[in-house]
Subunit: 296 residues, 2 copies
């Protein structure tokens, strides 16, 4: 691949930082996971890894909330996280200054959305929503071939939903909101509700009926509000692939035939889909974001 | 205004068609309302009005659902309305062929959103959501200075919400959905729930507490999902201006401090606002849309 710039991708999570180097087409050459401890300890390790590899640009997807406004004094900062030491932290600027290469900055879920939209399940489409369902629930929204950066980035995990008729915990488990999506349907919410880790529950457990209900409400609300060309559901909870069928059926039920699009009504199997890049959506998105910095 | 092209605006509703002529800056010279009966009767009247005025371009906002995809065979059609005679009706093509001038086509609420975003309460902002609350509830979403056209247009009125704790009709009154925004909070829903027209209920009536709850849920969900720079609430129900205060307070309650934006937390009075163009948002939006067709 002589002549193709070597790129870095960084998925910055609250528990670990996944570093990778590769090429824009999605080829991943090396990967390294670094625990997220204090910024003083973690940031130099990240810089050393990418310096050692000699990347020519870096694409970062960060846990948040973050500041994505390029004209802001705190662009590239993690802003208000409860994680000790990381609030008001110039995450991107520190790495950009250490590496002295162009660095792109996004939310973690926007990074995965960029990967999926460019090379994965959203390839060829202009408007795609990628939802990750795991420790938290978040969405990356691509509108007109660009990640949506609103006043703040999407916090789709905190959509208020309608409690299921047989709901025993209608308020859910979010410390901020009563009855939001994340509080009702994230991995930790499943565990708190049923007293077992989500991964340990068998496919016929009633947990999944409830989970499909809330994720279908999420899909239905995304469809009526934003109407993307495809919804991609990823993240750890969606490793339970048996969830896709009930989510699709229940989404159609909830829409009640109101949204007259044959792409939804007649082809829901290709409308609500798993990621095309498996668990590499974020890493590949990071390489693509890095590449774009070189083109600017 | 010699040298400035005369433009036409058409707000096409299911009950009446409001025609206007004017200039792009928002000056409205003449207005005429034509009842929406059959297409055979209504469309020629519309064409004659705009022909008589000699407009050089026309901007249409139509009741729907409509086809907004410019590359579609049925672009500019009303698609699946239950209104007799109007389903699969080439609304825009018929008028374009009759007038032989450039014609722009949008949803009715996108037309108002264009007006508000360009010359009204959203002036100077790139991302704005305009919600109309009246006979129906709909939203026009401006992202990056353009109306959002998804797979189909936004049907924000059919967001599923969380019933209020003291709700007596948790399913609401929408024929398609149980517990959607429009079924819980549109003008007709208020009338069905309380047995009186919304306009006849005094400001201290409990109807308004419930109305503010659902519109606040709508605002909170728009904020977490799309995060616009401003939300504009218009339409007949919002003539009850006393609603703005409780909607703003309840939206902040529902967000629970999670969205850290000083534009929301410290300045909600300028974040959730009435239209800047009063009831002319759609007409002025139509003139702007017409003008854009001349520039293409």
């Amino acid at each position: 691949m002589i002549g193709t710039p070597l790129l870095g991708a960084l998925e910055g999570g609250g528990t670990k930082m996944v570093c990778a180097v590769g090429y824009v087409g999605g080829a991943i050459l090396k990967r390294k996971s670094i625990p997220t401890t204090t910024p003083e300890e973690t940031l130099p390790k990240l810089a050393r890894f990418f310096q050692g590899e000699g990347v020519e640009a870096l694409g970062i997807g960060s846990f948040g909330p973050v500041d994505l406004r390029e004209d802001s004094d705190t662009y590239g900062y993690i802003t208000s996280t409860p994680k000790p030491g990381w609030a008001d932290m110039p995450f991107m600027p520190v790495l950009r200054d250490a590496l002295n290469v162009p660095v792109g900055f996004e939310t973690d879920v926007n990074l995965a959305a960029i990967g999926e939209y460019t090379l994965g399940a959203g390839r060829g489409l202009a408007n795609v929503v990628y939802v990750t369902v795991g420790t938290g629930i978040g969405a990356g929204i691509i509108i007109d071939n660009k990640p949506l950066h609103g006043l703040v980035h999407s916090e789709m995990g905190h959509l208020l939903l309608k409690p299921s008729a047989d709901e025993t915990h209608p308020d859910g488990f979010c410390p901020y909101h009563k009855g939001c999506l994340e509080g009702l349907a994230s991995g930790p919410a499943i565990e708190k509700r049923w007293g077992e880790k989500a991964g340990a529950l068998p496919p016929d457990h009633p947990a999944w009926v409830l989970e499909a209900e809330y994720l279908a409400q999420c899909c239905a609300n995304i469809i009526v509000a934003i109407s993307p060309e495809r919804i991609i559901l990823g993240g750890g909870v969606m490793h339970q692939t048996h969830l896709f069928e009930p989510i699709r059926r229940r989404t159609l039920d909830l829409l009640g035939g109101y949204i007259r699009s044959d792409k939804i009504l007649d082809d829901i199997d290709h409308y609500i889909v798993p990621p095309g890049l498996g668990d590499d959506s974020g890493t590949i998105g990071g390489l693509i974001l890095a590449s774009r910095q070189l083109q600017r």
